[in-house]
Point group: C2
Chain length 497, copies 2
């Protein structure tokens, strides 16, 4: 029937009709109503088309947060193209990788040394020097609204499985379905105003930017987090939501100690008595559950919400209404409740695979379920607990053992400050579990005590056969550096290796 289509470009066209006076975008001195945004997006789309951008082509943004991110996304949507806001903080080398990997036809950017370095070696794309002149140069001709909402429209780099990131592709349909979940869980109402003060190349900010857009609300942009400026913007624009976490909130409380700014429009998570007195503590499922849940870029943002499962045993809560979740073993079978399996998902908000990674995509969607690469456990009340990244698996006898699960059990011992688990070659079992343990200051425990503790917490076959104590663990970001641990503590004989 052709009457079911709904692209992000269509959403903008609808807002133009039904919200002629509503503000869509605020960024410094830039202030656009929905009709103004729609007009600019058409000009931008025509300017991009004049540079050869058509369906499936990529458009790249290298810069800080800006209304331009939303404009470029919507212009790409209008053309059936794919927009990528990349991490502008990366090195010239990393940016050059993105340019090679994504192969954008047009790059819009804010000048920096790294961008200049990357540009030097990659000249195939059209580089937009003067964004406003570029928009102004586009024609006003109407762009046909015949694009398929199942096609990708947004690419976000994530998931550096092999040291290099992959661009997750999200369709119009997936982004709208994910936004639908947030509309419910955050109880978005007319007039919703979101302050984009987290990075837009990250799904955590982008997902609320898009939800706000879908609801016909107001997106306020600020280049990066600055406590004083964030307070000023919340006050001036009567923001109802912002991208904020613990230390950022503390910084806002400090910046607004004298009550200079009125932050009462912000309906947000309770944090501290000072904070709660400044804002309006929100009782939507999203805020009252302190934004608990499980997510990743590949599912559009959040897959499960604690707010959909008040009183849940598992902190990840329950799935969004638009997805299914199963916990699968290495053979693709559902694991029994209470056992750890890989979190696998299916549904409307899921991504369309990674750009230009056919083999990885086939592996990630084996059996018709997206394999998140993360481990979870289903609790007796049906809710989910996120265990940790799957990363690697130890195979001892015929049993699959995930280091993250054993590490979690180790860390519940009061004397254990930190722990990592590797597999070491074993004559009888092929592999055996080895724990490297950092004791808490002033605490003692024997290897036997620690093994007994783990045996009491999870299935016996998962307990360490070897325990070594260390002063600290090598890390890669927040996770143990398993390659370094293997080298230092004799790891090896992993399945498939």
């Amino acid at each position: 029937m052709g009457i079911h289509r709904l692209t992000l470009s269509d959403v903008l066209a609808e807002h133009r009709r039904s919200r002629p006076h509503e503000t869509a975008v605020v960024d410094g001195s830039v202030r656009l109503t929905y009709p103004q945004l729609d007009t600019r997006v058409t000009k931008l789309a025509n300017a991009l088309a004049a540079q050869g951008v058509g369906p499936g082509d990529r458009v790249l943004w290298l810069g800080q947060n800006s209304y331009r991110v939303l404009e470029l996304l919507l212009a790409a949507a209008r053309l059936g193209a794919v927009f990528c806001p990349a991490n502008w903080r990366q090195s010239a080398d990393e940016l050059a990788y993105v340019l090679d990997d994504l192969g954008p036809r047009v790059v819009a950017f804010e000048p920096s040394d790294a961008v200049a370095g990357a540009r030097e070696s990659r000249t195939a794309a059209h580089w937009v020097e003067d964004y406003e002149a570029f928009v102004a140069g586009g024609s006003d001709a109407e762009v046909p609204d015949d694009k398929d909402d199942r096609d990708p429209v947004l690419a976000l780099y994530t998931a550096a499985f092999d040291g290099r990131p992959n661009a997750a592709l999200l369709s119009h349909e997936a982004l709208i379905a994910h936004s639908a979940a947030l509309l419910q869980v955050r109880q978005v109402e007319p007039g919703f105003t979101f302050l984009n003060c987290g990075p837009l190349f990250h799904v955590g900010t982008m997902m609320f930017c898009l939800t706000t857009f879908l609801s016909g609300g107001k997106n306020v942009f600020t280049p990066a987090f600055d406590a004083e400026e964030v307070c000023r913007l919340i006050d001036a624009e009567r923001c109802t939501q912002a991208f904020l976490f613990g230390q950022m909130i503390d910084a806002l409380v400090a910046a607004n100690a004298g009550g200079k700014y009125d932050l009462s429009s912000l309906r947000f998570v309770s944090h501290s008595p000072e904070w709660d007195a400044m804002i309006t503590v929100d009782d939507s499922p999203w805020c009252s559950s302190k934004m608990g849940g499980y997510g990743q870029t590949e599912v559009g943002g959040m897959l499960t919400f604690l707010g959909l499962a008040p009183g849940a045993a598992g902190y990840a809560g329950r799935p969004s209404p638009f997805v299914q979740v199963r916990l699968l073993d290495a053979e693709g079978r559902e694991v029994p409740d209470g056992e750890v399996g890989e979190i696998c998902a299916r549904g409307k908000s899921l991504f369309s695979g990674y750009h230009d990674r056919p083999e990885l995509n086939a592996r990630k969607s084996a059996g018709g379920w997206h394999h998140t690469g993360d481990l979870g456990r289903r609790e007796p009340d049906g809710t989910l607990t996120f265990i940790g990244p799957k990363l690697r698996m130890i195979k001892s006898g015929n049993e699959n053992i995930y280091p993250a699960e054993v590490e979690r059990a180790l860390k519940t011992h009061p004397a254990v400050a930190d722990a990592a688990v590797i597999g070491v070659p074993d004559e009888r079992w092929k592999q055996a579990v080895k724990a490297i343990v950092v004791l808490a200051e002033g605490r003692t425990a024997t290897a036997e005590e620690i093994v007994e503790h783990v045996r009491g917490a999870i299935a016996s076959y998962k307990k360490p056969r070897h325990v070594e104590f260390a002063g600290e663990l090598p890390k890669k970001g927040f996770t143990p550096d398993y390659d370094a641990l293997d080298a230092r503590y004799g790891g090896g004989a992993y399945p498939g290796s």
Copy 2:
């Protein structure tokens, strides 16, 4: 990738996993958790399949409200089939028409004279005499979850354009998208409990039944509206929402005058001081706007919501986030703001056409937009006003004039109690507007005064050239009987006639 599918059957399978102890269905002594419902739906699906029901086949329910309606819908969903709950109040003749038109493979029913009469003459289908025995006879074998969520799963009879109703087909995707809008606008939270006390063959009750199901909430069924029983059920099941309107609410207030039942769990629309004291007045957009908006079966229920446009000039408010709305003229062009046009829509919640009506479907979806057959006007703030059914058009000179718009203007005259507008043949303009006016008791007005009044309210060319006064108007339900009016007052020369 095959990972985006989400059928109603998938939703049930997910609830089985993530809501093992939650109650899905209550109906008299029947009480089912989600796993119990899932098990029964599998048995029912296998029993239907044993009667030859496969993808695209129809299953019919002829009976009052019951948990069986939801079970049959979900079993059809599991098989890729289409379920239709028909109006069981119809005559034997009307039911025979539905049987002929829909051609169901299986009919489940509650005995009545009309059903017996219809059955006598239509014996091709398998008639389920004993529902529980039929379910019990189905196997427990897993049904493959490979159905397409864009296929129709629900058929609701509506839209009797030519005197006979048509079955609007709604896909899994459309029903889920429509539910998504209600999840937001009604602010559905965990534990949502809906009392199905309106007819489930009508979209107004069905849409909340499905939204409740999607949210993993509890659906309570009662055969039909009975004030005392509704009070009892709200109290006993702690219902949060029910299908209720003005006079039904008054009946509940009367039935609960002594405060016998605790209705405080009900979060509903404010109505009267007595009612407001019994329930919890809800401040969600849906309830605080008194459920205003515009809808029809063909859009899944509601197309626009007043709750999405607080303070709107147009009582229909703004579209759901998952649809677009345009007001089109007879040539498919958008009419200017302030002018009346046909409400046309596109988006995720729209139906998939009528069962077995290829020509009508082509006409209704001309140009890639669903033509609702209703008239609307866009107000200066972008919101929508519902004018009335299009029904027929008068063409005077080159101008299109819709009777509903002129009637609306006539009725704003203080002396006019009722009014209908027809087109009469006119030598110069081909057609001219004629108003038949019923004056309010004790009021007087001349034809000239009334014409002047209309001229002040809408475009001058739409004003009546002729006015006749009548004691009453012939009606068909709530709308004027235009054929009778044409015969009595000289109507004719309509475009296309």
